[in-house]
């Protein structure tokens, strides 16, 4: 596409319409009007070469269903999606560049802000990568607590997604029910970590502080509460005929496609891609718990939905197995004040709520990493969106995007 080589500022200079708009309101002549419309079309990415029936709309950066500042340039024919070009970067903060100036302990708080809905899992990835490099043995207690908190965050994240998925499909009530239950998990976490969203609870070698005295009791109460409500989720959405019609058989992704596009997490597992890092490359205390990898063969929006709901149940299973067996001991390993990773490349993959999160560190032996890279699950999932939504209606685009559960700050980093 030719216009992509044109920078926006160049385009504005060329036609100068912005100055006109900003200047005093003059009588609009017909020519100015057509110029204006033409300009709109150029900005919205319309190619003069394409057929008359096809047109572009911009979904986002402010759009209710993009959940943040994602912009999709959607090419439509009637209501049928022809192709999608994602535009990202509106909240790019350069976290990878910032890490090159920060010590490993300081990096933790940045990772909170990647996928903010699974913040402790991001913390966990960095901690494990650093611990790998330093070859420290961390106490069993830390492993257990980290696993439990990660699963709690996963439940919270999936509950938010559940509500939002309902909202995207027009069932606003589901949104409130999802948030009601999420609040309970967040309360448990807040009591323990002191924060509701951005926890910064892990530190290389252990935890910031020991678990709260009520931690186990609260969790058991919460799980008892939540188990009763899973039926309600099914009644309200999963079994609803309209919901089924809107999701079943739409946006089908085969296993091969999922692997080729690197679609991981529940979205990938709904396509029968066994990509659960917790199972494939166990870390923390996941090898101590007996759980199954949720796999579906459908690969459509509904199975991605189902996979997430089942994951909530599976997470509760994991927590239940571990919560009573948290071993006594120190909440942190003996760590040096200044952490220096030996020279080399290290990486750690963890299962974040939306897929495989990877932390890749190249160290030159300094107290700061030479290069740090976060493998964002959402960026890979976004890459598959164009493929999934072709020839579906614009309403399906919303449903499919919702079933992929994108979090934009994680894409932008």
């Amino acid at each position: 596409m030719a216009h992509h080589n044109q920078s926006p500022s160049e385009m504005v200079k060329k036609l100068g319409w912005l100055h006109k708009v900003l200047a005093e309101e003059s009588d609009t002549t017909e020519k100015e009007m057509t110029d204006f419309v033409k300009q709109q079309e150029i900005i919205s990415g319309r190619d003069p070469e394409i057929s008359e029936e096809e047109y572009f709309i911009n979904m986002g950066p402010q759009h209710p269903s993009t959940h943040g500042v994602l912009r999709l340039m959607v090419s439509l024919k009637g209501e049928i999606v022809q192709n999608i070009k994602p535009h990202v970067g509106y909240v790019h903060r350069g976290i990878e560049k910032m890490t090159e100036k920060m010590t490993y302990k300081q990096i933790i708080h940045l990772t909170d802000r990647l996928d903010y809905l699974s913040s402790t899992i991001n913390n966990h990835a960095v901690c494990l990568a650093v611990e790998n490099g330093l070859e420290v043995e961390i106490p069993e207690r830390v492993k257990y607590v980290r696993t439990i908190i990660d699963e709690l965050i996963r439940i919270a994240s999936h509950q938010l997604w559940w509500g939002v998925m309902g909202m995207d499909l027009g069932a606003l009530t589901a949104y409130f029910y999802g948030f009601r239950d999420r609040e309970k998990v967040i309360d448990v976490l807040e009591k323990n970590t002191g924060a509701r969203l951005l926890h910064s609870y892990y530190t290389p070698g252990g935890l910031m502080r020991d678990i709260h005295a009520d931690f186990q009791k609260d969790i058991k109460e919460y799980i008892k509460y939540q188990r009763n409500l899973m039926n309600e989720y099914d009644d309200l959405l999963s079994n609803n005929v309209i919901f089924r019609e809107r999701t079943e058989g739409l946006g089908i992704m085969t296993r091969e496609e999922a692997i080729a596009y690197g679609v991981t997490g529940p979205s990938g597992r709904a396509s029968n891609f066994a990509c659960d890092v917790r199972k494939q490359h166990p870390y923390a205390a996941y090898d101590k718990a007996d759980f199954k990898q949720i796999l579906y063969t459908g690969g459509d929006s509904f199975h991605r939905y189902k996979a997430r709901l089942d994951e909530i149940k599976e997470s509760m299973n994991i927590i239940e197995q571990l919560v009573d067996n948290i071993p006594e001991g120190s909440y942190t390993a003996k760590m040096k004040a200044v952490l220096k990773l030996p020279e080399g490349t290290y990486f750690q993959r963890v299962e974040a709520a939306r897929g495989e999160l990877g932390v890749y560190v190249i160290s030159k032996g300094d107290k700061v990493p030479y290069r740090m890279k976060f493998r964002s699950p959402n960026l890979s999932n976004l890459g598959a969106l164009d493929k999934l939504t072709r020839n579906y209606k614009i309403a399906d685009l919303v449903a499919i995007m919702s079933s992929l559960d994108l979090v934009i700050p994680d894409i932008d980093r």
């Binding site: 499909l169 019609e245 309403a395």
Partner: protein
């Protein structure tokens, strides 16, 4: 049919005396004009009040379904919330879209609101308490309410916004198909009554509402009418024209201030009209609830004024429509049409035949 049922609170005398008073102080022509203006003002007031109440009710009902309290700050229990909202909308800047078709853009909200306004004229609020009693009242209401979609189409087209256009086109397809279901489901009852006059329809239910004495066809017709009227009024789960998560606000994306308020108000008034039709045709209009020969019960029911019965029934139907909206996900446009053409229409036709058969055999009361 039975002889006319006259409720305990008969408004005919009052209206008659007002009419006579006007005739006594001015010439007949002027008296009629004055009465028309008075009724117009009365309806405008009614319109505004119902609009405000319904918006508040929607917010409260939605909140109750969603584990919330709803508006709570403006006045006790937030009862003045919508008035505050309305003032805000009045004060808001009316945005002009440069690339819009200005005339149609400004015209659209009026078409929408006038369509709903015209429909109220024929609605019987009580015994002889209606502005005009056409002998084809039901047909008139159906015809007038479907003019509203013209406003929606114009709004979407003239905004020069792609989201609006998609919304408007959806709305067009939706209303054209759901008109059928509304008409046919009402026809099921009309077959039993034998009249399109709304006052006759109400009178025919003196000995029992059609939903009870119309057997199964009436119940099926009622359910279909509820579904179709939800679609007709562009409300969830059929709110595709404004589908918030897909089209941001659909056909009224570019409207602001009072023009947006017109669309907003018209949506609620359309809902009110749809609910009134349902109440009039299926639930006995202003007729009190009577149970067979239970004299004492019937007497108590008769004490409640007809107008209250009417509003109560309408409110009940509106509540059901709200319940729909706050429970279900939205349909997709092709599913919406599938629902109409593959499910509602065939069921409706069979239902109509069934009703006709019942009438033929004289099985209805």
């Amino acid at each position: 049919m039975n002889e006319k049922y006259i409720p305990r609170y008969d408004m005919t005398g009052v209206i008659q005396s007002i009419h006579e008073y006007f005739l006594s102080v001015m010439p007949a022509g002027l008296a009629y004009v004055t009465e028309l203006v008075l009724i117009g003002i009365l309806f405008l007031l009614f319109y505004a009040v119902v609009g405000l109440i319904l918006v508040l009710a929607e917010r409260k009902v939605a909140a109750f379904f969603q584990l919330r309290l709803g508006p709570y700050r403006v006045g006790p229990w937030g009862v003045f919330q919508t008035i505050a909202d309305f003032i805000k909308l009045l004060l808001k800047e009316i945005l002009e879209i440069k690339a819009a078709d200005k005339f149609l853009f400004n015209l659209a909200p009026f078409i929408v609101i006038i369509a709903s306004f015209m429909a109220i004229a024929a609605i019987p609020f009580g015994y002889s308490l209606h502005a005009i009693d056409f002998d084809m009242g039901l047909f008139y209401v159906l015809a007038v309410t479907s003019v509203g979609v013209l406003g929606v189409l114009l709004a979407g087209w003239s905004s020069n916004n792609k989201y609006s256009l998609i919304g408007a086109m959806r709305s067009g397809a939706q209303i054209v198909s759901y008109e059928l279901s509304i008409g046919l489901s009402l026809m099921t009852i009309v077959v039993m009554i034998g009249s399109l006059q709304l006052s006759t329809i109400v009178q025919s239910q003196a000995d029992g509402w059609w939903i009870f004495k119309g057997h199964i066809p009436a119940v099926i017709a009622f359910v279909i009418f509820l579904i179709a009227s939800t679609a007709e009024t562009n409300r969830g789960p059929f709110d595709l024209a404004e589908a918030e998560s897909e089209l941001t606000a659909g056909f009224h994306t570019e409207y602001s201030g009072i023009k947006f308020a017109f669309f907003f108000l018209a949506e609620y008034m359309n809902m009110f009209i749809a609910a009134s039709i349902a109440a009039t045709v299926f639930l006995g209009g202003w007729m009190p609830l009577h149970i067979g020969n239970l004299e004492w019960f019937n007497n108590i029911m008769d004490y409640i004024p007809a107008f209250v019965w009417y509003i109560g029934k309408t409110a009940f139907v509106i509540w059901i429509l709200m319940w729909f909206k706050w429970t279900f996900p939205r349909l997709r446009i092709d599913q919406l049409l599938t629902l109409e053409w593959k499910y509602l229409l065939p069921i409706n036709l069979i239902n109509l035949v069934l009703a006709a058969f019942i009438v033929l055999m004289g099985w209805h009361f």
